[in-house]
């Protein structure tokens, strides 16, 4: 199982590099009005995210996804 990790990370690197080199039509700064809305960002309510991660990681077996760090707990 452990050998899977480097393979997966390598694959992801390749994918991301490819994606980074692809030509995506550039969105200019003056076209970003909608993108600036809080609901268009991925972390508009960090405290809600904190509660959510804390609850789900103590009721389900999975954890992680979009961040690192944060305190662990002995939640039973």
């Amino acid at each position: 199982m452990r050998t899977k990790a480097p393979v997966m990370l390598g694959l992801a690197f390749a994918l991301m590099a490819l994606q980074g080199c692809m030509h995506i039509q550039s969105v200019e700064p003056w076209q970003k009005g909608n993108l600036a809305k809080p609901e268009m960002t991925f972390d508009d309510d960090p405290l809600e995210r904190g509660f959510k991660e804390h609850i789900y990681s103590s009721k389900e077996a999975s954890a992680g996804g979009s961040g690192v760090g944060g305190g662990g707990c002995g939640c039973n």
């Binding site: 199982m1 452990r2 899977k4 990790a5 480097p6 997966m8 990370l9 992801a12 690197f13 994918l15 991301m16 590099a17 994606q19 980074g20 080199c21 995506i24 039509q25 550039s26 969105v27 200019e28 700064p29 076209q31 970003k32 909608n34 993108l35 809305k37 609901e39 268009m40 960002t41 991925f42 309510d45 960090p46 405290l47 809600e48 904190g50 509660f51 804390h54 609850i55 789900y56 103590s58 009721k59 389900e60 077996a61 999975s62 954890a63 992680g64 996804g65 979009s66 961040g67 690192v68 760090g69 944060g70 305190g71 662990g72 707990c73 002995g74 939640c75 039973n76």
Partner: protein, 407 residues
């Protein structure tokens, strides 16, 4: 300052139990990613500080000792004859502050307190044991804004009677000149100390290393996507000291792949937020998580956001199935089994959450919100094979009330 970061990085990798080379390699790779070079515009610290407060009230219920197949309450019930027994109840509050120091630096801190009371089953969904706990967690971070990205150093501490967790993290982001692509790489190290009240173990520890690699891409005026890869490797005491027959492997590693997509519908003044996460670990657990949310804006600063979440997981390979015919006794683990657990959390199940959030922007700087959520978890709701049998369905509801103020 570069030297300080270098020392931190060295300190971090010194404490990494398993993957120092990979962590260092990832970080250096992130710093020198292909195709994102160029003279970027300077990133700078936010002009305003932000203060946020949020209160959480969370309550679970479950038919403890119920026959999951018939739904009839069994004779054993700690709180008497009620059809549902209350389980854990959590009242938590979180306060957070972010302050820009100057154009190049900002710092932030979050204080979280939880008070937990109620009861947790000792095995499967049987035999409630009472508990009470208080947790206090502090997260602090310092962010440096560079010409083409940011570096954030974070420290965390969480303390309970029986559990202390300490962590340090380092996250770097790098944006392209047009700011349409942002790369993220992060590493986090945690060290936990476990001293359960029942003294079943003493001075146990758990160490873990988290890695994350992500990219956020603006696709159009109304679309933004993000991909994240996560890796965790930990060693130490992963068992639950308060459960009967719970002996888990001392090594745990998991990998996650997450994709998120936000799309704004101008004509509807609405935004769809979709997310998917795949999870796999060395305990034999795989899971899928789907999140969907619709944020509808109205005039006068009001917005409403209904949300749905579906989660499904397979059981750990050492999970021992429930056997209601033995009730009130727990089934014995298989003979000669090295690892075993009768914890519902490592069984096979599906979970469904429905939520609704109401937000009101009071003025340019102040926003208040309230969110209600209802969660259900059942073996039969799994999407991955047949779910674990003999477990009582589990329900929870939560209420969050928050305020955010910029200054």
């Amino acid at each position: 300052m570069v030297q300080v970061w270098a020392e931190v990085a060295v300190a971090v990798t010194k404490h990494a139990p398993q993957l120092p080379e990979l962590g260092a390699a990832l970080l250096s790779a992130a710093m020198a990613l292909p195709c994102v070079m160029g003279n970027a515009h300077a990133e700078s610290a936010p002009e305003k500080g932000v203060f946020s407060f949020k209160y959480l009230n969370y309550k679970e219920r479950q038919q403890i000792g119920a026959d999951a197949n018939t739904g009839n309450a069994a004779t054993y019930s700690k709180s008497g004859a009620s059809a549902f027994d209350d389980r854990i109840r959590v009242k938590a509050s979180a306060s957070s502050i972010m302050v820009p120091i100057n154009a190049e630096w900002s710092m932030s801190g979050t204080l979280i307190t939880d008070s937990i009371s109620g009861a947790s089953p000792a095995y499967h969904t049987e035999a409630l044991t009472g508990m009470k706990d208080f947790r206090r967690a502090v997260d602090t971070s310092l962010t440096h804004y560079l010409p083409n990205g940011t570096i954030t150093l974070g420290m965390s501490h969480s303390g309970e009677n029986d559990y202390i967790s300490r962590g340090v993290s380092l996250i770097a982001t790098r944006a392209t000149e047009d700011k349409n692509t942002t790369w993220t790489a992060g590493v986090g190290i945690n060290r936990d100390e476990i001293n359960p009240a029942n003294r079943i173990v003493f001075n146990e520890t758990k160490r873990g290393t988290d890695l994350i690699l992500g990219v956020t891409q603006v696709v159009s005026m109304n679309d933004i996507v993000q991909f994240n890869l996560g890796y965790f490797n930990g060693h130490g005491y992963f068992s639950d000291p308060y459960k009967i027959y719970d002996e888990r492997p001392r090594d745990r590693s998991h990998q996650t792949l997450q994709a998120r997509w936000n799309h704004h519908f101008s004509e509807l003044s609405g935004t769809s937020r979709l997310a998917y996460r795949y999870y796999t670990d060395n305990w034999g657990i795989r899971s899928h998580t789907f999140d969907a949310e619709w944020v509808q804006s109205f005039g006068n600063g009001w917005s409403v956001a209904p949300a749905l979440r579906y989660y499904t997981q397979t059981a750990a390979k050492f999970y021992v199935e429930a056997d209601p015919s033995l009730s009130p006794f727990p089934p014995n683990p298989p003979a000669n089994a090295q690892y075993f657990s009768e914890d519902q959390r490592v069984s096979a199940f599906g979970g469904l959450t429905m939520g609704m959030k109401l937000t009101k922007q009071l003025n340019l700087d102040t926003k208040v919100d309230v969110k209600l959520e209802q969660y259900g978890q059942k073996g039969a709701w799994t999407m991955l094979g047949s779910g674990s049998k003999g477990l009582a369905p589990f329900y929870a509801r939560s209420l969050q009330v928050g305020i955010t103020h910029s200054f």
